[in-house]
C-alpha cells in the first residue's frame, strides 16, 4: 500500500482493528463460559487476559502513522483547548511576551538600521571612508584630489560636505534648507540610480562654478514639491544664484552619514556659491570637505587601505608642511563615521536592558507556568495512570509554552514594526536635518522568531522537574495540596530574579534622570535661559564681506532698541554647543615665523564675537575687558581667551592679560581679557581652550544674533522679526531660544532617559505582576490555614504576616541584589547618560521607595483577601 492510499485506508484499518480486538475478547469470554465460568466473570477474565486494549490499539496505530507529527498536532489541539479554558492566564502571558519581545525587536531594529545597515546602497559593507575631525588631512579639496589620484585601494573616491542654511527660493516661498555638496562621482561611487530625471556626474564639472545643478532627495521632493514630477528642469535660486533641478534621488538615499538627512545635493565645484568664503582650491582650507569615501577594491583589506591612505597623507604633509597636517587614521564604514561611537554604546546598552526585560518576562511566565502545572497535578496523575509517558506530558506542556510565545512574538514583532516605522519618519528637532532611519527587514522577523522560541523554551522547562517527579497515586489520593516542606522552590528563585531585574531597571532609570538633571544645570560657560537667538546668513541676500559688517552692526543696534532687551550681541558661525559645530585655530608664540601646525602653541576653539556678546550670552569675564566697537579692523588685534587657555599657556588668569600671540593667518593679537571656562562642542568633553576675536577684525557672513531678555519668547521673537524685516525684507531669519538650540546637544541624553524610563516602567510592571501572582497564589492555597488561624484568634497583623511574609521577603532580597547590580553597572550607564553616578543618595532612596511602593501595590489585593477570610465558610467547604 503506498502511503497516500494508506491515509484513506487508515480509517478502515482502525475500524477493522477495533472490531478484531472486540471479537477476540468475545471469543475468549465464550471459551471461559464453556469451561463453566459465569458470564460476568468470564468477561472480566477475558479482558484481564487481553491486557490494556487502549494501549494495544494505540500501539497498533503507531505502526501506521508518522507518530511524531500526529502527536504534535494532537498536542497543539489540546493546548489550544486548555489555553482557551483559562483566558486570563493566556491573555496575561501573551501580553507580557508581546511587550518583552516587542521591546527587543524595536531595539534590534534600531541596531540593525543604525549599525548593521547604515546606508541603503548596494555593497555598503565595502564602503569605507575617513571620519570628520580625525585629522587625516583629507578635509581639503586639493588633498582629496591627490588621494583620489594616488590611492591603490579604492575603485573610486568621492567626497561630500555639509552646507547648512542655504536660502532656497522656488519662486513663492523662500526658506532655509540644508544640502550636501558632493563631488561629481558621488552618485556613481554609491552605485545608485535616480528615481526621476538624472544625476550630475563628473562630466558636468568644468571647473569652479560650472555645474549649477541640484538633485533633490526623495523626502524633500515629497514635502516641498509635493511629488510634482515636473520639477525636473525647473530653476531655483540658492542664495540668489540660479540652479537647475536635474533629478530626484531614490527613496532610500538620504546622504552618507548617520542621522543627518540633507534636502538636496549640489556639485562641490559650486559650493562657494552657497558657502561663501569657502575656497575650494585652497589646500589649507579644511572646511571644504566633510568626509571622503569609496568602495574598497576587491581583494583589498581594510588594513591595507588604512596603510595606503595614511602613506598618502603623510606624504602630503611632507610636501606641503604649511597647509597640511596629517594624523594617522583608521578608515570606518561609511555612514557610521561621525556619530558612531556614542550611537554604538547607546544601542549596546539598550540591547542589554531589553534582554533583561525578556528575562524578567520569562521568569514571570515560568512561575505562572509552574503554578499552573501544580494546579493540574490531578490531571497529570490521571494521565500517567492511564499509561501516558512522562515525555508525552512534558511535550504537551511545552507545546502550550511554544504557542503562547509564538503568539506573543508575532504580536510583538507587529507592534515593533509599527513603532520602527514611526521612528524613521520622526524629526526629533525641527529645523535640524536629524533623522533616525530604521526600516525593518527580514532579519528582524528571524530575530523575533528566535527570541520567541528561546523564551518559550525557558519558561516551558520550569515545570519539568515537577512533572517528572510526580507520583500519580499520592496526588490522586491527597488532592494537589500545597507542599509545605520545601525551603526554596524554583518559583521563589524566579521571583527573586524578576525583582532583581526590575530593581536594576529602576535604578538605571533613576540614574539616567538624575544625570539628565545634572547635565541641564551644569556650567556651560554661558547662561542659556532667557536668551533668544536669530540665525542670519547674509549670503542668502547677496551681501559680501564688505557690506556685511555695517549691516550686522545695524542688526545689533536694532535688537538693542527693542523694549525689554537687556543686551544683544553677535557670534559668527554657530554659538557654543550648537549642532556640535566647531572652529579651531592654531595659535603661535609671538616670535614664530614658520606657522605650521607642528609649531603651534595651542589649538583653541575660535569664536568671532561682537561687543555685547558676553553680556548677552551670560559669559562671565574673569579679568581684563570685553570688546568695544573701537576694536575694529584699523585697531591693533585683540583677543579674549578662556581660563583653561590662560592657565595652560600663561600660568594664571592675570598673567595672561597684555601678552601677545600670533594666529594662523599671521595676525598678531594681544590678550585683553579672560573669560570663564565652558563647554563648546559636547557636554561630555574635557575642558578645552577657547579664544574670542572681535568680529570686526574677522568678519563673516553667517552669524547668530544673541539677545538676552526676560520678555515672553513669542513676543520677543515677533519684535525681533519685525525689526529684521525693517532692515532687509528679503532676508530669511531663523528664530529660536538658546535652550531650543541646545536640544541637539541634549538630544542623546534625553532619548536615553526616555528609553530607560520606558524600560524601567516595563520592568516595574513585570515585577508587580510577578509579586502579585505569587502573593495571590500563596494566599489562595493557604486560605484554609489562614481561616483556622483567624478562628483560633490570630490578629490581623499575624494573618498578614503568615500570608505575605514569603513574597515580601523575596521582594527585599530581590531589590537588594538588583540595587547592588545596578550600582555595579555604572560603567555601562555612563556610556549612555552623561554624569551618571549611581552613588547618589537621591538614586538610592528613590529605588528603595520605588520597590517598596511596588511591593505594596502588588500585595494589596491578596492582603485584602487574606484579611477578609471568613473562617466559618472556609471550614465548611473543602
Amino acid at each position: 500500500m503506498s502511503w497516500i492510499s494508506s491515509i484513506f485506508d487508515r480509517r478502515r484499518l482502525f475500524n477493522d482493528l477495533n472490531e478484531e480486538m472486540r471479537l477476540h475478547i468475545e471469543e475468549r469470554a465464550e471459551q471461559l463460559m464453556r469451561e463453566g465460568m459465569s458470564a460476568n466473570e468470564a468477561e472480566r477474565q477475558a479482558r484481564v487476559a487481553f491486557g490494556n486494549p487502549t494501549l494495544m490499539e494505540e500501539r497498533s496505530r503507531m505502526v501506521w502513522q508518522w507518530p511524531t507529527i500526529e502527536s504534535i498536532v494532537a498536542d497543539v489541539r489540546l493546548s489550544l483547548r486548555q489555553l482557551r479554558k483559562s483566558p486570563g492566564f493566556t491573555l496575561a502571558a501573551i501580553v507580557t511576551l508581546t511587550l518583552a519581545i516587542g521591546a527587543n525587536a524595536v531595539v534590534f531594529g534600531i541596531m540593525d538600521g543604525l549599525i548593521l545597515r547604515p546606508l541603503n546602497v548596494p555593497e555598503a559593507d565595502r564602503l569605507y571612508g575617513t571620519q570628520y575631525g580625525d585629522g587625516s588631512g583629507f578635509q581639503s579639496y586639493p588633498n582629496y584630489r591627490d588621494l583620489r589620484a594616488r590611492n591603490h585601494s579604492f575603485d573610486d573616491v568621492a567626497a561630500f560636505n555639509f552646507n547648512l542654511g542655504i536660502g532656497m527660493d522656488t519662486g513663492n516661498d523662500p526658506s532655509v534648507t540644508n544640502a550636501f555638496a558632493v563631488t561629481g562621482n558621488y552618485f556613481d561611487v554609491l552605485r545608485v540610480h535616480p528615481m526621476l530625471g538624472r544625476f550630475f556626474h563628473a562630466s558636468d564639472e568644468h571647473g569652479p562654478g560650472s555645474a549649477p545643478y541640484i538633485v533633490l532627495t526623495y523626502a524633500f521632493w515629497h514635502t516641498r514639491f509635493n511629488d510634482d514630477r515636473s520639477v525636473v528642469g525647473r530653476v531655483v535660486r540658492l542664495n540668489h544664484h540660479p540652479f537647475t533641478i536635474v533629478g530626484v534621488a531614490p527613496k532610500g538615499l538620504q546622504g552618507t552619514i548617520l542621522f543627518v538627512a540633507p534636502d538636496f545635493f549640489l556639485p562641490i565645484v559650486n559650493q562657494d556659491q552657497v558657502f561663501p568664503g569657502n575656497s575650494l582650491n585652497a589646500r589649507e582650507n579644511t572646511h571644504a570637505v566633510f568626509e571622503v569615501f569609496g568602495h574598497l577594491k576587491p581583494g583589498v583589506s581594510v588594513a591595507q587601505a588604512n596603510a595606503d591612505v595614511n602613506a598618502i597623507g603623510a606624504d602630503l604633509e611632507k610636501t606641503y608642511p604649511k597647509e597640511v597636517s596629517h594624523a594617522s587614521v583608521s578608515l570606518a564604514r561609511e555612514g557610521l563615521t561621525a556619530f558612531a561611537g556614542p550611537a554604538k554604546a547607546f544601542v549596546a546598552g539598550l540591547m542589554l536592558l531589553a534582554a533583561l526585560i525578556l528575562l524578567a518576562a520569562c521568569a514571570n511566565l515560568g512561575s505562572l507556568f509552574a503554578a499552573r502545572a501544580a494546579d493540574r497535578g490531578r490531571e497529570v496523575a490521571l494521565r500517567l495512570a492511564l499509561g501516558s509517558s512522562r515525555t508525552r506530558i512534558l511535550r504537551q506542556l511545552f507545546t502550550e509554552a511554544m504557542l503562547i510565545s509564538l503568539a506573543g512574538g508575532a504580536l510583538g514583532v507587529g507592534a515593533s514594526v509599527a513603532l520602527l516605522k514611526k521612528i524613521s519618519v520622526w524629526q526629533p528637532i525641527s529645523g535640524a536635518p536629524l533623522h533616525i532611519p530604521v526600516i525593518p527587514d527580514a532579519k528582524l522577523y528571524w530575530y523575533a522568531l528566535a527570541l520567541a522560541l528561546v523564551s518559550g523554551f525557558l519558561f516551558g522547562i520550569v515545570p519539568v522537574r515537577q512533572v517528572l517527579r510526580a507520583n500519580p497515586y499520592e496526588i490522586v489520593k491527597a488532592g494537589s495540596s500545597a507542599r509545605m516542606g520545601r525551603r526554596v522552590t524554583v518559583r521563589d528563585v524566579l521571583l527573586v530574579l524578576q525583582i532583581a531585574i526590575c530593581a536594576v531597571l529602576v535604578t538605571s532609570s533613576m540614574v539616567a534622570v538624575r544625570g539628565l538633571m545634572n547635565s541641564m544645570h551644569s556650567s556651560f560657560g554661558f547662561e542659556p535661559h532667557n536668551v533668544m537667538t536669530a540665525g542670519v546668513n547674509l549670503a542668502m541676500d547677496g551681501y559680501n564681506v564688505d557690506t556685511a559688517l555695517p549691516m550686522q552692526r545695524r542688526m545689533i543696534d536694532a535688537m538693542r532698541t527693542i523694549p525689554g532687551v537687556e543686551s544683544a550681541g553677535l557670534v559668527n558661525g554657530y554659538p557654543p554647543l550648537v549642532y556640535t559645530a566647531s572652529n579651531r585655530d592654531y595659535v603661535y608664540k609671538q616670535g614664530t615665523s614658520n606657522l605650521i601646525p607642528a609649531n603651534a602653541l595651542i589649538s583653541p576653539y575660535r569664536y568671532e564675537v561682537s561687543p555685547g556678546y558676553f553680556d548677552a550670552a551670560g559669559t562671565i569675564l574673569l579679568a581684563g575687558r570685553s570688546f568695544a566697537w573701537q576694536d575694529d579692523a584699523h585697531a591693533p588685534g585683540v583677543a579674549i581667551i578662556n581660563r583653561h587657555f590662560a592657565d595652560k599657556i600663561f600660568g594664571s588668569v592675570t598673567g595672561a592679560i597684555g601678552r601677545n600671540l600670533k594666529l594662523q593667518d599671521g595676525t598678531m593679537v594681544q590678550v585683553v581679557g579672560v573669560a570663564e571656562d565652558g563647554k563648546y562642542v559636547s557636554l561630555t568633553e574635557d575642558q578645552e581652550p577657547a579664544m574670542f576675536i572681535p568680529f570686526m577684525q574677522s568678519p563673516g557672513l553667517a552669524a547668530y544674533l544673541v539677545v538676552r531678555s526676560h520678555r515672553d519668547p513669542q513676543q520677543l521673537a515677533e519684535a525681533m522679526r519685525s525689526k529684521m524685516r525693517e532692515l532687509d525684507a528679503a532676508l530669511p531669519v531663523g528664530l529660536e531660544t538658546y535652550s531650543q538650540l541646545l536640544d541637539t546637544v541634549l538630544f542623546p541624553a534625553r532619548v536615553a532617559t526616555m528609553a530607560l524610563g520606558v524600560l524601567g516602567f516595563m520592568g516595574a510592571l513585570l515585577a508587580v505582576t510577578g509579586i502579585f501572582g505569587m502573593a495571590a497564589y500563596s494566599v489562595s492555597k493557604r486560605l484554609r490555614e489562614l481561616g483556622i488561624r483567624m478562628a483560633l484568634g490570630a490578629k490581623k497583623k499575624e494573618v498578614l504576616q503568615a500570608a505575605l511574609a514569603r513574597p515580601l521577603r523575596l521582594l527585599v532580597i530581590g531589590s537588594a541584589s538588583g540595587l547592588i547590580l545596578g550600582l555595579l553597572a555604572t560603567k555601562v550607564l555612563a556610556y549612555i547618560v552623561y554624569q551618571a553616578t549611581p552613588r547618589d543618595p537621591f538614586v538610592l532612596v528613590g529605588v528603595v521607595l520605588a520597590m517598596l511602593l511596588l511591593g505594596l501595590l502588588a500585595t494589596w489585593i491578596p492582603a485584602q483577601r487574606a484579611l477578609s477570610v471568613n473562617p466559618l465558610t472556609l471550614l465548611r467547604e473543602d
Partner: protein, 116 residues
C-alpha cells in the same frame, strides 16, 4: 497491574513465533494465541493483546496478509496468512536465532556441547 510492558521475550521473538504458526496454518488472532500457548507447553505467557501490534507490524512489512472471513465456528474473523516474503524472512530469523542461542549456551555452559 503492569505499567510499561516488561518484555520477557526479546524484540522480534513474538513476530517470529507468529510467522512460524502461520506457516503451519493460517489463523486469526485468538487461534494464534491458543496455538502459541499450547505449543510452548504454556511456558510462554503472552499478553493476548500484544499480538495485535505485532500483527500490524507484520502487515505493514508485507510479511503476512489478512482477510475477513467466517471461521469454522461461524464467527466473523480476520484470518492472517503468511506471504512468500514472510517465509523468507522467517528462515533468516530462525537461523540467526539459532546461532545466537548457540552462542549464549556456549557462554553459559562452557565445555558442554549444545543440545541439537
Amino acid at each position: 497491574m503492569t505499567n510499561s510492558t516488561p518484555r520477557d521475550l526479546f524484540p522480534g521473538a513474538l513476530e517470529m513465533m507468529i510467522l512460524e504458526s502461520l506457516r503451519r496454518q493460517p489463523a486469526h488472532g485468538y487461534a494464534l494465541v491458543q496455538s502459541i500457548q499450547q505449543r510452548s507447553n504454556n511456558l510462554l505467557q503472552v499478553e493476548e493483546g500484544s499480538l495485535y501490534p505485532a500483527l500490524q507490524r507484520l502487515l505493514k512489512s508485507r510479511l503476512v496478509k489478512a482477510e475477513w472471513g467466517v471461521s469454522s465456528t461461524n464467527r466473523k474473523v480476520r484470518t492472517y496468512q503468511i506471504t512468500a516474503a514472510g517465509l523468507r524472512h522467517l528462515e533468516q530469523q530462525i537461523s540467526s536465532f539459532e546461532r545466537m542461542f548457540e552462542g549464549i549456551a556456549l557462554v553459559l555452559k562452557p565445555g558442554e556441547a549444545p543440545a541439537s
